[in-house]
């Protein structure tokens, strides 16, 4: 199927629609492309490193940077106090008293939150100085779970709740329909935190000109340029005093590099204070811990159905967790899908209850699929559940509910204007061409052999080209009236000829690997009938020199529809003017002018021709010869907007995106009955994303989105321990799929052009990040015969879902990082003697493992400098120890904490002394919590480390009694270790 959309002439030689090789590739393949960290910096640049919070929640009691300041190579150290003095809090879409600065000012609210910044001559020395900064925290109870946040400690003291936003929406008559419905199905689903983790981390280079009070920043930022306003406001300068440049190449983003913006402010302030340029390159540990995340969401979804399986109404209850701060553009994840909350289905009645909470986790932001996986996981799971309850085939149920053929453009209940497509036909074609029957036979055969094989489906509408007004749906109509309308999705592009007659294109998009240069060259080549390699496309962007607007940037899949479309408009305008020049030179009417093979000629007399470049050059060299009406200067900037992208109406209906693609996926999975490993056997994805500008690149986008979706389904999670410790600090802990985990993908296309975009194209790079997680989950559910309510479907998670009662065993088992244990040991001294050791400063110092220096800080409380570690991993910590609940000589409680570059631990132990014939039996119970770096990268080591330290504590206690260890039963330590569950 091929329709040409708005391009009038069908041109078989068109570059658009062809899978040409990318113009970007030679430089990338030869190592010659220039990424942010490859750009030259001034000789006086200094390098930044961040001190980050090791705890999830706490007050900063003391911050001592004196020792670090004195270290060699250190230029400056910047803390929250400087941020308060030189910057304003980031503005947000929701007006709440929860300010965020680029550095923590008084309280830390997530592990990895920046607390201080070191500037030094090189990164190595900057990191050296981080180790010399001492921060004292007074921990607060962390709030981690979104549900718990509703009742938990309030993170931001000037708010009265962790719920920073709440709204109810109703479209049609959901209450009435639910009350009368033949069937109601419901489910609660949890979407996890994950991230697309681009291979290139964040990079910012900032300089400040005090004479102009202006900042010049280069960052691998990707937009949206709404954030330029957030940054300039935070830096307290007008937008024209924050010149933001992006590098020519960017190492992937998938939305993630939006979150570089707080660091633009941090580095800007740093450059201002240091009086010299400052550079920061984020490292992988920082990126995973603290860059950004998809929102985790708890959704309770109900559907009302009739007897035939028609979905009459949906009732969404969405609890969105945006992490510690609501950072722009959040809570956009919750609203991007608002217009298409009915999916690909014709559902007239809809209720939505939205809440946004803050928790002690990294703030969230843009991520491939942005809001899509969070809604399609519940929606498409629930449809499977509905089909099962009604005894219907899950695919038949879906097909029955699709927006019907011929209904396009179709206005959904919450306001989306689905622009084009024939969902039923595309679905049917995918069933046929994708080999569903064969897959069903495969499942039958596998099941006949007793194997765990399942098939999953998902149907998705993929929005692209975000309406700048969608986020205002969170405001009430009255609030919106006061704030003023926000709408549209302005795109800009500039096309021009230089004096040599060569053509260049610049756009306000910031590609991160999608091949924009190639596609734009194709678009422009068609307009002038030249070849793509004749077209030079600039992908660096400079807010001081290039046209741009708030919607600019590389996000919301807006390239193919909006940016390529704007480029087409600019090129057409330019051609229209060149045509007038040519008509004069060729002495023919303008409609006689034709383009071909780099020439301009008279259509009916092709020998009457001039080289295109020569005519274009004429506009520069001989402007007086240009005919009236052709203007001066051959350069056109087009601003393109979409009339359909209006602000929300008084009924809260919002056309949240400009174009909507259609996706239907199905897959077969097999699960290993022993290990619960999921193998994706076959995966078919059907897309209708309108006109494909370069099918090879389109497929590349689909494969990339699929890889992210598969990772989200099976492997990836930015996981936190119950105490708020972050657990996935390396790429050995955050599990992106490798070539071994990825599945083969069959891609099918329909191409129903969008009537609303200049080239008929829609976005398609995010769709499989939305459709694939739930498609795989549905297949796993089908294979196991169990409801799936959470992701990722790791082997261990599936095992916990499936395993029956375990055969009993004897050993004590520890759980997570909230390390707990109890034990007993014999000490050859009386309880009074043991008591005396514990209460004597010097002897206590000798008992505490790694203690260098113990200073009394109060009654039975001490500060100490200790070296702790596991095996060769050792670090210095500032420790606090207190003895409480003293009941001499019978029992006491030992409470302590240790903070250092490796992280922070807290623990307490209850010790009781019982006299025996040989001396004293010491019974103890302890709990330990560990967070920070060592927990994020060495989760596997924690139990062993704690047990080894407790082991050492008692060994030293015994030695303090003056008894030589040799006098003991040699099996003593073995027994102790056995009690602790340690076997050698």
């Amino acid at each position: 199927m091929w329709r040409t959309g708005k391009v009038n002439k069908t041109n078989n030689n068109a570059w658009i629609g062809r899978s040409i090789a990318r113009l970007e590739d030679p430089a990338l393949l030869r190592g010659g492309a220039r990424f942010a960290d490859d750009l030259a910096t001034p000789a006086n640049v200094c390098h930044a490193a961040f001190m980050r919070s090791p705890i999830a929640h706490g007050e900063i009691v003391a911050l001592d940077t004196a020792a670090a300041r004195a270290m060699p190579g250190v230029v400056a150290i910047i803390t929250g106090a400087e941020m308060l003095a030189h910057s304003a809090p980031f503005i947000t879409g929701v007006k709440v008293a929860a300010p965020q600065y680029a550095l923590a000012t008084d309280r830390v609210r997530y592990v990895g939150e920046p607390v201080a910044m070191v500037l030094a001559h090189d990164r190595y020395r900057a990191e050296d100085a981080l180790e010399a900064i001492n921060v004292e925290y007074a921990p607060l109870t962390p709030v981690l779970d979104a549900m718990a946040a509703l009742e938990g400690l309030v993170l931001h003291p000037d708010t009265n709740s962790n719920v920073l936003h709440e709204r109810y929406f109703s479209y049609g008559d959901p209450e009435g329909v639910f009350a009368a419905a033949a069937h109601v199905v419901a489910g609660t689903y949890h979407y996890p935190r994950n991230s697309c983790t681009p291979l290139e981390c964040f990079c910012v280079i900032a300089d400040y000109d005090p004479g102009e009070d202006a900042f010049e920043v280069t960052a691998n930022f990707q937009g949206p340029y709404t954030l330029h306003t957030v940054m300039s406001r935070s830096l307290k300068v007008p937008g024209n005093r924050l010149r933001l440049k992006t590098p020519p190449a960017s190492g992937g983003s998938y939305g993630v590099k939006q979150a570089v913006f707080p660091y633009v402010v941090a580095l800007g302030v740093a450059a201002k204070i240091a009086g010299r340029p400052v550079k920061w390159l984020e490292d992988r540990f920082e990126h995973l811990t603290a860059a950004t995340s998809a929102t985790n969401r708890v959704t309770t979804l109900r559907a009302a159905l009739d007897k035939e399986g028609r979905v009459l109404a949906l009732d969404w209850d969405q609890l969105e967790d945006c992490g510690a701060y609501l950072r722009a553009p959040e809570p956009a994840t919750l609203y991007r899908m608002h217009g298409n909350m009915t999916g690909a289905y014709a559902i007239e009645n809809l209720a939505i209850h939205n809440r946004v909470v803050v928790t002690n986790k990294t703030p969230t932001g843009l991520m491939r699929g942005f809001g899509g996986p969070q809604i399609y996981f519940p929606l498409e799971r629930l449809l499977d559940k509905a089909a099962a309850e009604l005894g219907l085939d899950p695919l038949a149920l879906r097909r029955r509910n699709l927006v019907p053929s011929g209904a396009m453009p179709y206005r959904t209940a919450p306001g989306a204007l689905l622009d084009s497509g024939d969902y039923t036909t595309s679905l049917d074609r995918a069933v046929a061409d994708g080999g569903l029957d064969d897959l069903l036979s495969r499942r039958d055969a596998a099941r006949a052999e007793g194997r765990l094989y399942g098939i999953g489906y998902s149907v998705v509408v993929e929005p692209s080209i975000s309406n700048m007004g969608y986020i205002t749906t969170l405001l009430s109509p009255e609030q919106r009236d006061r704030a003023g309308a926000k709408n549209g999705a302005l795109a800009t592009a500039t096309v021009g000829f230089d004096p040599s007659g060569a053509i260049s294109v610049a756009v306000s998009s910031v590609p991160q690997g999608q091949g924009h240069r190639t596609v734009l060259a194709q678009v422009v080549a068609d307009v002038f009938a030249i070849t793509p390699k004749d077209v030079s496309v600039m992908t660096e962007h400079d807010t001081a020199k290039d046209p741009w607007s708030i919607a600019s940037g590389n996000y919301a899949s807006r390239f193919a529809g909006a940016v390529a479309g704007a480029t087409h408009r600019a090129a057409i305008s330019l051609r229209d003017r060149l045509t007038l020049i040519a008509a004069a030179d060729l002495n023919v009417p303008p409609d006689e002018v034709a383009y071909g093979a780099g020439r301009i000629f008279a259509q009916h007399n092709p020998d009457n021709a001039l080289p295109l470049g020569r005519l274009a050059a004429k506009a520069h060299w001989s402007p007086l010869s240009i005919p009236d009406g052709a203007g001066v200067g051959l350069r056109e900037t087009a601003f393109w907007n979409m009339a359909e992208l209006t602000e929300p109406d008084e009924g809260d209906r919002i056309n949240s995106s400009g174009a909507y693609g259609f996706i239907f996926d199905f897959c077969g999975v097999e699960i290993d009955p022993d290990t619960f490993a999921v193998r994706v056997d076959r995966y078919v994805t059907m897309h209708d994303a309108g006109r494909l500008l370069n099918p090879m690149l389109a497929d590349g986008q689909i494969r990339g989105g699929f890889a992210h979706g598969l990772g989200a389904a099976l492997l990836e999670e930015l996981s936190y321990a119950p105490d708020g410790g972050f657990q996935a600090g390396t790429l050995a802990d955050y599990l992106a799929p490798t070539v071994m985990e990825i599945a083969e993908l069959t891609i099918l296309h329909d191409q129903t052009p969008s009537p609303f975009t200049p080239l008929g194209a829609k976005g398609l790079g995010e769709g499989n990040a939305m459709s694939t997680p739930v498609c795989i989950a549905n297949a796993v559910s089908d294979a196991l015969g169990r409801e799936i309510t959470a992701l990722p479907l790791t082997r261990s998670n599936l095992a916990e879902l499936m395993l029956e009662a375990e055969p009993p065993g004897k050993a004590k088992v520890f759980h997570g990082h909230a390390l707990e244990g109890r034990g007993s040991t014999a000490v050859p001294a009386s309880p009074e003697e043991v008591w005396a050791i514990l209460l004597d400063d010097n002897r206590l110092a000798a008992v505490i493992p790694g203690c260098h220096d113990l200073v009394k800080s109060g009654d039975n409380s001490y500060r100490a400098d200790v070296t702790l570690g596991v095996g060769p991993i050792k670090g210095r910590f500032a420790a606090k120890v207190a003895l409480q609940d003293l009941d001499p000589p019978q029992s006491l409680r030992l409470v302590g904490s240790a903070t250092g570059p490796l992280g922070r631990s807290e623990g307490e132990g209850h010790i009781s002394l019982h006299p025996t014939r040989e001396g004293t039996q010491v019974d103890y119970a302890y709990t330990v919590r560990i967070s920070g770096k060592v927990a994020a990268v060495g989760g596997r080591m924690m139990d062993g480390a704690v047990r080894a330290l407790i082991n050492l504590f008692f060994k030293r206690l015994v030695s303090q009694t003056g008894v030589r260890e040799e006098r003991f039963d040699p099996s003593f330590w073995e027994r102790l270790l056995a009690l602790l569950g340690v076997n050698r």
């Binding site: 090789a21 990318r22 970007e24 590739d25 030679p26 990338l28 393949l29 030869r30 190592g31 010659g32 492309a33 220039r34 990424f35 960290d37 490859d38 190595y124 697309c196 983790t197 681009p198 291979l199 290139e200 981390c201 190449a249 960017s250 190492g251 992937g252 983003s253 998938y254 490292d283 992988r284 540990f285 991160q512 690997g513 999608q514 091949g515 090879m696 690149l697 497929d699 590349g700 494969r703 990339g704 699929f706 890889a707 992210h708 390396t730 790429l731 050995a732 992106a736 490798t738 070539v739 071994m740 990825i742 083969e744 993908l745």
Partner: protein, 165 residues
């Protein structure tokens, strides 16, 4: 014995893509940083600095290894090859051309490392089958492509090279 003190810079000399290069490095300076910052060989990218992602993979005496897990001072008198050394000035080599043909790269950040691994495999095991190619590629993370075009490109080149032998 060569003994280099911490905090001081020491002369380092090795061949990079066949040419003798020299610079100074503290013992702790990572080879990846030395290549990029001291020698200006920006083609080698840094993605994780803990050996997991494979972006910084280069060849030392022919072996594909992680530059982030080596120190510049360890390269004394060694032969280092990076992506800049693969192709003639005006073209692409077989693997590079095949990656372009099969759209085996998008952002291209992981690509130089992948090329260095595949180059060694192609030299030492031109008969490697797809399973072996995948095993070698599993030491690289690509977040853009889903690996499809990379595998296709490699399988095609290995088939051609082996066919000619």
């Amino acid at each position: 014995m060569r003994y280099l003190e911490a905090g001081k810079r020491h002369a380092v000399r090795f061949t990079l893509n066949g040419e003798l290069v020299e610079g100074e490095a503290e013992p702790r300076l990572l080879l990846s940083d030395f290549l990029r910052q001291t020698l200006g060989a920006y083609g080698t990218h840094v993605g994780c600095e803990h050996g997991s992602c494979g972006a910084c993979t280069i060849r030392v005496d022919g072996k594909a290894v992680r530059a982030c897990l080596l120190y510049a001072v360890q390269m004394q008198d060694r032969a280092v090859t990076t992506v800049e050394g693969l192709a003639a000035p005006d073209g692409l080599n077989a693997l590079q051309a095949a990656l372009q043909k099969h759209h085996g790269l998008q952002c291209g950040f992981c690509t130089p490392g992948i090329l260095m691994s595949l180059e060694q495999l192609l030299e030492e095991e031109p008969g490697a089958d797809e399973a072996r190619i995948r095993d070698v590629l599993s030491g690289h993370i690509c977040r853009c492509t889903g690996y499809h075009g990379i595998v296709q490109a490699a399988v095609e080149v290995f088939g051609e090279v082996f066919g000619k032998r």
